[in-house]
């Protein structure tokens, strides 16, 4: 099947590549662009380890065709840290021990990154609902919830300090 030419913005960089229509976005990221931070788990849109940000929304990249990402703006975990260090979500996962084996962590962090923009000051119940598309098979959910709470608090504090300047 003829390959198709697609372009998208990935972690701020413009990318051009050729993909087969049947190629899934997660394979383009991992195998074509060597960005292996986005993991492959269930491959059936249940587990959420392949979560990336596409046009400002969380999506499961195992269930999006790469050709559907043509002209999209994408962010993966490799693009989460900023020039001055780790993102608040990453720091909070370290601080709260929000990971055990680490397999689900990149998907959890990418979902938390977007969720906290959708709902900057969530209750615990809202966090559980907002993060419900991501599974942790170590069942380390309590600390993941704490990490999202801590990230929310620190992101809000950072925003307030910017307002005061």
């Amino acid at each position: 099947m003829a390959k198709q030419h697609i372009t998208f913005k990935l972690n701020g960089k413009q990318i051009e590549t050729l993909v087969e229509p049947r190629e899934l976005l997660v394979h383009t990221l991992r195998e074509n662009l060597s960005l292996t931070g986005t993991h492959i788990g269930c491959e059936s849109s249940h587990c959420g380890v392949c979560t990336v940000d596409m046009n400002g929304q969380s999506v499961k990249s195992c269930t999006v065709l790469a050709v559907q990402a043509d002209n999209a703006e994408l962010k993966t975990v490799e693009g989460l840290a900023e020039a001055d260090g780790l993102h608040e979500v990453q720091k909070a996962f370290i601080e709260e021990h929000g990971l055990q084996c680490g397999f689900c962590t990149t998907g959890m962090m990418m979902r938390a990154y977007r969720f906290l923009q959708e709902n900057p000051n969530p209750s615990e119940e809202e966090i559980r609902w907002g993060m419900s598309g991501n599974l942790c098979r170590c069942t380390g959910y309590q600390n993941i919830i704490k990490a999202v709470q801590t990230a929310a608090k620190n992101l809000q504090a950072a925003e307030k300090s910017v307002e005061h300047v």
Binding site: P21, R22, H27, S45, V59, K60, T63, F115, W129, G133
Partner: protein, 287 residues
């Protein structure tokens, strides 16, 4: 896990999608892709050609026409969930979509795809039956509007003809003395319902003037529990009446045995979900 090879075309308008469907034998429409792509990965479906309708703006948007809420087929679940207009005019959709799949899937999966796919486990078919919705279908011979009641014919089998596209969902706006209820049992977030039931009631004082009971995933396709509806219509709700209606619902169910349980268990759960939804709907009609 990747699908077998296929050609991929992007449609730019409804007419373009219909033309591309006519040009490509056995082509399938891809909307959100969250039912179709998993089936293609498992090779349960191997369409030689996909026509992507994500770029068609005329399939988006939600507005009111008189007493009808008009929802473009390509609205994602989250777009319908977050619509203030939907919440005001038909809150059953808002409440039910909270229980559909998970946040990421709701960002891609569309209300039209859920209706048109014909999977008995999908949530919207029974909701559309309870709401007495209509669907607008467009094809090479023009446009037709069909009622949800009669649209669902079997597993992956609907009134949608080859070459046709579902473009709009038309839902009656909530009227005074009308109430909605929704109950869904699922093992975990993201799983299909063991059983689900959306309910519409119209009350006349304490009497149920009209009722529609939809049922999800307890037969080859979504259906209405018509015997139970007939029993309840014209009466006041009591626990004895609900018990009798529940027996009729159990008799009407024909679920397949799978990991979610035996046919007997699923039928009992369907009756329980319907009873809960009926109680909710009667309460909702009072407010």
């Amino acid at each position: 896990m990747i699908p077998s090879e296929f050609e991929y075309h992007k449609a730019t308008s409804i007419q373009d999608a219909i033309a591309k469907l006519a040009e490509n034998d056995e082509a399938k429409i891809i909307a959100g892709g969250h039912s179709l792509l998993p089936m293609m990965k498992l090779r349960f479906a191997e369409p030689p050609c996909l026509i992507d309708i994500n770029g068609i703006d005329e399939l988006r948007g939600i507005h009111v026409e008189g007493d009808t809420l008009v929802i473009g087929a390509m609205n994602t679940e989250n777009e319908v969930l977050n619509s203030a207009l939907v919440k005001e005019k038909c809150a059953l959709l808002t409440e039910a979509i909270k229980l559909v799949a998970d946040p990421q899937v709701r960002n891609r999966g569309t209300i039209g795809g859920d209706v048109a796919h014909g999977d008995p486990g999908n949530d919207h078919p029974a909701i559309m039956l309870a709401l007495d919705a209509e669907f607008v279908l467009e094809g090479p011979d023009g446009k037709r509007t069909v009622p949800a009641n009669g649209f669902f014919l079997g597993t992956y089998w609907t009134e949608l003809e080859d070459g046709e596209l579902l473009t709009q969902i038309r839902v009656p706006v909530k009227q005074p003395h009308v109430g909605y209820g929704y109950a869904k049992l699922k093992r975990k977030t993201g799983d299909y319902a063991v059983a689900g039931s959306p309910v519409y009631v119209k009350m006349d004082g304490d009497t149920v003037a009209d009722i529609r009971i939809g049922l999800t995933n307890v037969a080859p396709c979504a259906f209405r529990a018509e015997a139970a509806e007939s029993l309840i219509r014209g009466k006041a709700i009591s626990e004895e009446l609900l018990k009798a209606a529940g027996e009729l619902i159990i008799d009407a169910c024909d679920p397949a045995e799978d990991l979610r349980g035996s046919p007997e268990y699923k039928s009992h759960m369907a009756a329980e979900m319907a009873k809960r939804a009926i109680r909710q709907a009667v309460e909702d009609a009072r407010n």
